[in-house]
Structures are given as C-alpha cells and as structure tokens.
Amino acid sequence: MSKYYVNKFLFTIDRDPEWVASYKDDPRGTVNRWEKEIGRWLNSVEQTSWLEFTAEEREALSTHDYVWLFENGAHFFLNLTLFIALFDEEYAAAHGPLAFQTEMARQLGHWTGRDYPSVAM
C-alpha cells in the first residue's frame, strides 16, 4: 500500500483540467498514462525510483472506487474534491444540488459511529 502514491495521483489529477477530463472519460487508460508521465517524476528531470501502486490501488483508481480509497486511508479531502469534479454536475442535473456529495456519504454510511481508516502515513 502506498498511501502517498495514491494521494499523489488524486492531487496531481485534481489540479489540472486536462487530467480531470481524461480521468473522467477513461480512468484505466489515464492511470496507466499517469504512471508514465507524472507518477515517479519529482520534477522535470529527477525521478523517484521506488514509487508504485499495488494491484488493488491501481484497480481502485481505475474504477473510480472512492469507497475503497476511503477505506484504505486516501486523504478524505483529495478523495472528495476529485470525485466532485468528476460527478457533481451530472448528479446535480439529475437529482439536485449536492446530490453526489450526499450519495458519497450514503455509500460510506457503514462507517458512521466507527473510527475511520487513518489518513496518517
């Protein structure tokens, strides 16, 4: 498990409109491309040699599985903000304001009253 690498994915996708659009339309292809073009790069010259996803992490990101990400300690703010970018508009159009946010809360409802998975690293 690399919480840092998962968080780096969420962070670097969310801050760039082209990556947001790509991740919405083709999550699996975008994860693969991100690993080549962004993932290990520390800056435009330097690379980090040891960062990689586990198979489960790659699958969760490739399927927009924000419940798995929450349950495995991805940072709650990044996990919320990026998936709002992906789904807020279509949920709001179909079901009204904040419909995606309340759906996300419902999907995580089994955690109410329990200690949440830690985002600490």
Partner: protein, 329 residues
C-alpha cells in the same frame, strides 16, 4: 508601536460567494440570511480601521503537498496571487491579486524564530480559499496588504491544540511590538465540527452541534483551560473528520488572549455545518463598541459570549438524550 485593533475568528465557507452573487432565482433559500449576517460581521472589521491584515488559514492541498509539508508557514512577498483552478471549478471563487506587507512579514518571521517558533517560509506562495473566503466576507475590496500564515490542520501528525494557542500568543506579542504606527487586524478562519469526504458530510446539520455549542462558549470566553481539558486530535475527529480546523480558531483566541471575552459573536446553522463569526477589540473604543452593537442588532448576534446553555442548541440536546435513552433500552 503598531496597534492591534481587531481579532476576527470565523469559519470559512467556499459556497458563500456563489450563493450570494448568483441571479436571485438561482440562490439557495438560506442565502439571504447568510448574507445579512456576513455583511453585519464585516462592519466589525471596518470599525477597526485596519492598515494591515495578518491572515491565518490552511492550504487545502492546493500548493503545499506531502513531499514537503510545513507545520507552520509564513509568506514573505510584496504580492500574492490567489485562487487555484480547482477552487474556481468547484466554488466559482474569482482570482485575486493581493498586496503583501513585506516589512511585517519579515519582522513576524524573525521574531517568531526568536521566540523558538520555527516557521517555514515561502517566497512564492499562492493564496487559497482559507484566506480568500474572509477577504470576500469581511474585506471584499481586497484593498489592504496582508501577511499570510498557514497552519497544518490536514496532514497528521498535527501540532497540538496547546501549540496553536501558543503560536497565537506569540503573534500577539509580535504585533504589539512591531515598530510602526500602523493599525493591524488579525483574521483567521477555520471550522467548528465539520465532515468532508466521510459518511456524515452534507447532512441536515453539522456533524456535532453540541461540540459547536461548547466551542463557541470556550472561544468567546477565552477559556483555554476548558479547551485543553476537552479538545484533542481524537476528540476533534470524533466531532467530524475535518474538525481540526477548530485549532485555527483557537490560534485566534490565543491572539485575543486567555480569559478575554469576545465583543461580537454570531453563528448560523447552515445545514451541513455551523458558521461562526467572532470579533475581539483588544483596545476597544466607543466607535467599535457602537459598531458591534449595530451589527449585532442587524444580525441578531451577541455583543458578548454565547454559552453552550443557549436555547439555540436545545433541539440537539433533546436528540442526544433521546439517542442515549434509545441505546439503553
């Protein structure tokens, strides 16, 4: 020496801008009440006639990142850009360019280090909504130079509540000793109980209204002992996974001082969270006293502390009692 003319501690809510600037027929039902309270609160800053704003907030993973995350950081620039792409996208917040008071930034940084508060520094800091939200609410002309201070409320392990209070005390001493004839206001934003990205987000009320009741009493009475006895990282997580922003409000209470009662206190139950607007006047004059009284009349706010026993929280005490009774049967 500089004069600290006001300390403001408030929640920040990135929905405010869009809720109050959309065409009338597209505004949410709570917008008018919210705007009335915010514009009344604004008058409490205007009456302080500030020349410089010391602004306390926390970057929400817009610039500061996990490869190198500071616990406390000060900006030291003559100019600051503000508002990131993903804040425009999600909240519709406009971009700003703010002047910086580099002289006070430099003095603040050196004096903090001199008091053993080892702040990080940025010379290319872009400001996010933790500082732009209060610009929008209490100084929408964005016409004053700022000194931005960021804290870590987001990346555990976090500094302790005691440390946030101590940083506030140090900032107060530094503003009071700043060799200048300027008037300084300190404005910091954070949260009461708040849930983001978890099962209690965007509910009918904030995740823990009775924490909010205690928090407003503690802050508005300067009750540092009660806060240190009752508030831990774990207890804040219990009140909502993003409640740690309360520590920025605690920092502001540190600037105001222990045991010092606030001069203006207001709050608003905004379905998924409770908004809070608090002002202290460290050197209160008649104009400020009258401005706070006028604002309080407009907003139905208080010109002194609001206690947890206030009737505003009766319904939640009833719900908690019913829940407890239910779990015993």
């Amino acid at each position: 020496m500089a004069e600290l003319t006001a300390v403001l501690a408030s929640t920040h809510h990135p929905f405010y801008y869009k809720a109050t600037t959309s065409p009338e027929d597209q505004r949410p039902p709570y917008a008018a009440d919210w705007q009335r309270k915010v514009e009344a609160y604004r008058e409490t800053l205007t009456a302080a006639e500030p020349d410089i704003l010391v602004m306390v907030g926390a970057d929400h993973f817009h610039q500061l990142w996990l490869d190198n995350y500071p616990q406390f950081l000060i900006g030291k620039q003559e100019t600051y850009d503000a508002t990131f792409y993903n804040e425009e996208r999600e909240f519709g917040i406009p971009k700003y360019t703010l002047a910086g008071d580099i002289e006070l930034s430099r003095y603040m940084h050196e004096e903090l280090l001199g008091k053993d508060f080892d702040f990080s520094v940025s010379h290319e800091l872009k400001i996010d909504h933790s500082i732009i939200c209060p610009i929008i609410t209490v100084r929408p002309d964005a016409d004053l130079p700022i000194v931005p201070i960021y804290t870590n409320i987001f990346v555990p392990p976090l500094p302790s509540p005691r440390r946030f209070f101590q940083v506030g005390r140090a900032i107060r001493e530094i503003i009071d000793s700043f060799p200048s004839d300027k008037k300084v206001a300190a404005i910091g934003t954070g949260h009461l109980s708040l849930e983001l990205g978890g099962p209690r987000q965007f509910g009918e009320h904030g995740p823990d209204p009775l924490f909010d009741a205690d928090a407003i009493e503690w802050l508005s009475t300067g009750n540092i002992d009660a806060i240190l006895d009752n508030v831990t990282h774990e207890s804040m997580a219990g009140a909502g996974n993003a409640t740690h922003g309360f520590m920025d409000l605690l920092l502001m209470m540190g600037i105001a001082g222990p045991g010092v009662h606030a001069d203006y206190v207001d709050h608003l139950d905004l379905f998924h969270t409770r908004e809070m607007y608090m002002t202290w006047y460290p050197n209160k004059n008649q104009d400020q006293r009258e401005a706070a009284a006028r604002a309080a009349e407009t907003a139905q706010a208080s010109t002194g502390p609001i206690y947890a026993s206030d009737a505003a929280w009766d319904q939640f005490r009833g719900e908690r009692a019913a829940t407890a009774a239910g779990s015993e049967t």
